[in-house]
Amino acid sequence: MKTVLIVDDHADMRRLLSISAGSDFHVLEAEDGESALEAIRRQRPDAVLLDIMMPGAMDGLQVLDAIRADPALKGIRVAMVTARGQASDLGIGKAHGADAYFVKPFSPLKLLSWLRSNLN
């Protein structure tokens, strides 16, 4: 079973993402950037659903940069799930190497189908 890491500071949002991934994946959760990166390095999930604006020293983009900079973490699929929905934000996400960009509010079904098509 593939592992998906959900990174978001809102508990309701983590719950929603977890429900969205459903029973197909093994779901991990993290509340901020540092704990997310630590979880990634430790457990090496197949995909990361990453919020951008989070409290703490690292925001989502910095986590993404770290993933992309680390050869050991190569092949991890990263989807940004964020409230920053401006066109420039999408461009920034792509530039940092995100595989997908979901703007809140998003459709849980679409997120699931992205996970399925990218991980299976």
Partner: protein, 838 residues
């Protein structure tokens, strides 16, 4: 005009020609009369010559015949009754005979023919004697037959000997009884010189002795005398016969080819005529000098007439040419005058004249009409364009605006004295309609041409419109200058050479007073100077670039720069190209620091608001979708529905606060009801209605009355918000208290402030959190585990500011937070007692 003149010229030429003809005719007539008079005189002279010749000839002939008759009578008488022929002869021989040159050869014969006396005749001899004898016999026979006592003229013969003509004549001698007793005969020597002498004064003439029947007896010509052989021409004879009242002249062509003029005279007592013929050729010769003279005179006179005519014609032509030229000049002058008047009229100008010492002012009708005056023709006034009006100078002075009268008279006096200080003057004249017209007067003094004194004449130019325009321009310039100087926007005007011509005070202000040296700076120099004032992040790209933008799309010719502080400004530079002669372009600077900041804040706020709305919305949408699309157990359905409900409430709260903020941003405190109220009472009401979260204690309240000037709704909102924060950031059971804050003065307005402190013993905030506490959407705990929008404190601060109060935060991590709310102290409302001190 030319045709008319040409007709005139032709008429004059015709007159000259007629004049010439008249004089030629006069010369002809005069010459004819002169010639006639001369001819008459010549004819008289010729007639006189004829007469003289004829008289001479006739007298000579008569005398010769008379002498012969006398001789013969004497001889016959002596031979008569007394003595007979012998006695006659005797007597005769004793008679002193006339000159033998005339009469010669006296012979007396008796009836028988015997010679009684024979005067020796040297002429006759030989043959002559024989012929003489025959002639005597013939005479004897004749006399015997004719008893007349008259002398018988027998034939004329030529003496062969001396070749002279002798005229044989004889007279009968009667006896006492009257019988024929013989005869006495002699011959008359028709010696040319004796008889004809100088009868002919003209060459080629002829003198004739003719018998009464027309037989020419003797003819004398230049060659001498000859026996006449013929008769006179029938025409001449007819002429003689018809000349009853005296001889006339008769002209005829003679057989010798000569044309001659003939006259005649009968010899008294003899059947003889003497005829004189003059050669016409020679008579004509006589008159030719006179004719030549007349011809010469006629020629000279005609020549003079011709010369005079030619001169007159030439003079006439040149006169006409000059006349035509003058006429053209006059026409041209007239046209130019008309043109001048047209120009003057179009230019709004009119002429005027002021005369001294009469002080009469004459103006052209053009000028009078411009002033709406009735124009009248004044015969005595000098006319400019045919028509003018004259008034006394005083009357004119009344038309001048009172303030300008001194100017006008001063001008006139200055011009009169020839002072060059005032070449022209601008005055106002009152139009008849009441409005004022501006006129520029200029003039020159001249001596009066038609009277005593001086004349100041000149032009009056209507400059009303120019004045009006100038006033308008001055007005506008003043307005523009005011606008320029008052404008909050900076303006830099470049001249035609693109050098800085003018910069307004606002520009200097925008440059923070560093713009002293820019006047007359070149564009490139100015660009680099302005660039040096800008920050590197938002530098100035130069006017040249702006100009190239302006020439393609005027709306795009702008850019934003940020000037180096202090204070740092964001300035919008735009360039406007100008078509004006002295202005090439204008650089327009607007301080958009505030707008930029506002826009930046607004943008950040909107982004934050969107973000804050999206997060709860994502929960609402996402869980709703899961509820709709998944078969869920009842407990999960309930859980998800609760999440949707909670997040929806959260959304609603955010929206309420956003609307509050927005309303306050837009309207401020408008619509609030400020009144003096007791803050303690308000806080009590809030506390009473506030339901603390479960597990929390009710806050303690320790307040004496605090009369402040507030809007009760807003004040309560602030208190409730702060109270809510205090509960939310503290653990259950942790105390929250409301106490009185120390009174103080507002640091800016100086207003006395009274207030309360709301204190919790919660988590508190570190310095960074404290600094951001009032930022919109800032949340100390963004995890969503605690309710809140992040707008609460920001909203409270806005309200406190609008109420003229203060909100202060005091906090440290894990030591709780104290929020102080200070309101403006108000006078006591009626019925309230002042607060107790302490």
């Amino acid at each position: 005009m030319d045709n008319k003149l040409l007709a005139h010229l032709r008429r004059w030429q015709l007159a000259v020609w007629l004049n010439c003809l008249f004089w030629l005719v006069m010369v002809g007539v005069g010459a004819w009369f002169g010639y006639e008079a001369m001819k008459e005189r010549h004819q008289a002279a010729v007639a006189l010559a004829h007469q003289g010749a004829l008289r001479y000839l006739s007298a000579n002939l008569q005398q010769a015949l008379e002498r012969a008759d006398q001789l013969l009578w004497v001889a016959a008488s002596n031979q008569g009754p007394a003595g007979g022929p012998a006695a006659a002869a005797a007597a005769a021989s004793g008679i002193p005979l006339p000159s033998s040159l005339i009469c010669a050869g006296l012979t007396v014969l008796n009836a028988r023919g015997e010679v009684l006396l024979s005067e020796p005749d040297s002429h006759h001899s030989g043959q002559d004697s024989l012929q003489e004898t025959e002639r005597l016999a013939a005479d004897l026979a004749w006399h015997r037959a004719n008893s007349t006592q008259q002398m018988h003229l027998s034939d004329i013969h030529q003496d062969l000997k001396n070749n002279e003509l002798d005229w044989h004549v004889s007279r009968r001698i009667n006896t006492a009884s009257g019988e024929f007793a013989g005869l006495a005969a002699c011959h008359i020597d028709l010696n040319a010189s004796l008889i004809f002498g100088s009868a002919r004064s003209f060459k080629d003439g002829t003198s004739l002795i003719v018998s009464s029947d027309g037989q020419v007896l003797v003819q004398n010509t230049d060659a001498g005398s000859t026996l006449g052989g013929g008769r006179l021409s029938p025409a001449l004879l007819e002429s003689i016969r018809l000349a009853a009242d005296g001889p006339r002249l008769h002209l005829q062509q003679d057989p010798d080819g000569e044309q001659r003029q003939y006259s005649w005279l009968a010899v008294a007592g003899r059947p003889l005529l003497v005829v004189n013929g003059m050669s016409q050729k020679n008579i004509d010769l006589l008159t030719s000098p006179a004719r030549q003279l007349i011809g010469f005179l006629v020629g000279i006179t005609s020549l003079l007439v011709a010369i005079a005519t030619a001169a007159m014609l030439w003079g006439l032509r040149s006169l006409f040419a000059q006349f035509v030229l003058r006429l053209k000049d006059e026409q041209q002058l007239l046209e130019q005058t008309q043109l001048l008047h047209q120009v003057l009229n179009n230019a709004g100008a009119g002429q005027w004249q002021l005369q001294w010492p009469s002080m009469r002012l004459t103006v052209s009708n053009l000028l009078a009409l411009r002033l709406g005056l009735q124009v009248s023709a004044d015969a005595g006034a000098p006319a400019f364009d045919g028509q003018s009006s004259t008034l006394s100078a005083k009357a004119w002075l009344r038309l001048i605006h009172p303030a300008d009268r001194g100017l006008a008279t001063g001008f006139a006096q200055a011009r009169r004295k020839g002072l060059e200080t005032q070449p022209e003057v601008v005055i106002r004249l009152r139009h008849q309609a009441g409005r004022l017209c501006w006129f520029r007067l200029s003039g020159e003094v001249q001596p009066n041409q038609i009277g005593p004194g001086k004349v100041l004449s000149g032009l009056a130019l209507d400059v009303t419109e120019e004045r009006f325009a100038r006033t308008q321009i001055e007005d506008r310039t003043a307005q523009l200058n005011t606008l320029f100087s008052l404008s909050p926007d900076g303006l830099v005007v470049f001249d035609a050479q693109r050098m800085v011509k003018y910069a307004n005070p606002a520009f200097e202000r925008l440059c923070n007073g560093r713009a002293e040296q820019i006047k007359n700076m070149r564009e490139a120099e100015f660009s680099s100077w302005l660039g040096s004032l800008c920050t590197a992040e938002q530098a100035f790209s130069g006017i040249a670039l702006l100009r190239s933008k302006a020439s393609t799309d005027p709306n795009s010719a702008w850019e934003l720069v940020t000037t180096e502080g202090p204070p740092s400004r964001v300035v919008r530079l735009s360039l406007v190209l100008s078509n004006a002669q002295s202005v090439s372009q204008i650089l327009y600077l607007r301080d958009v620091t505030h707008e930029t900041e506002v826009a930046r804040v607004k943008n950040r706020f909107l982004t934050s608001a969107a973000h804050e709305l999206r997060t709860p919305l994502a929960s609402v949408v996402g869980f709703a979708e899961i509820l709709v699309t998944h078969q869920l157990a009842a407990d999960k359905q309930l859980e998800f529905a609760r999440i949707v409900w909670r997040q929806s409430l959260h959304l609603s709260g955010i929206l309420d606060e956003l609307l509050d903020i927005s309303r306050m941003d837009a309207r401020g405190a408008a619509g609030w009801h400020l009144q003096a109220l007791d803050l303690a009472e308000l806080a009590g009401q809030v506390l009473a209605s506030f339901q603390p979260p479960s597990g929390h204690l009710r806050a303690s309240l320790a307040l004496s009355p605090l009369i402040v000037r507030v809007d009760p709704m807003r004040a309560q909102q602030v208190i409730r918000n702060v109270l809510s924060n205090a509960y939310h950031h503290s653990a259950a059971g942790s105390p929250v208290s409301i106490s009185q804050a120390p009174a103080q003065l507002h640091p800016h307005s100086g207003a006395p402030l009274l207030g309360i402190e709301i204190q919790d013993a919660g988590a508190g905030m570190n310095e960074q959190e404290l600094a951001q506490a009032f930022d919109r959407f800032y949340r100390a705990d963004p995890s969503g585990s605690r309710p809140g929008t992040g707008l609460g404190l920001s909203l409270c601060q806005d309200i406190m500011n609008l109420l003229g109060g203060l909100i202060l935060l005091r906090s440290a991590p894990q030591q709780g937070t104290t929020v102080t709310l200070l309101f403006v102290q108000a006078d006591l409302p009626v019925g309230h007692s002042p607060p107790e001190p302490g």
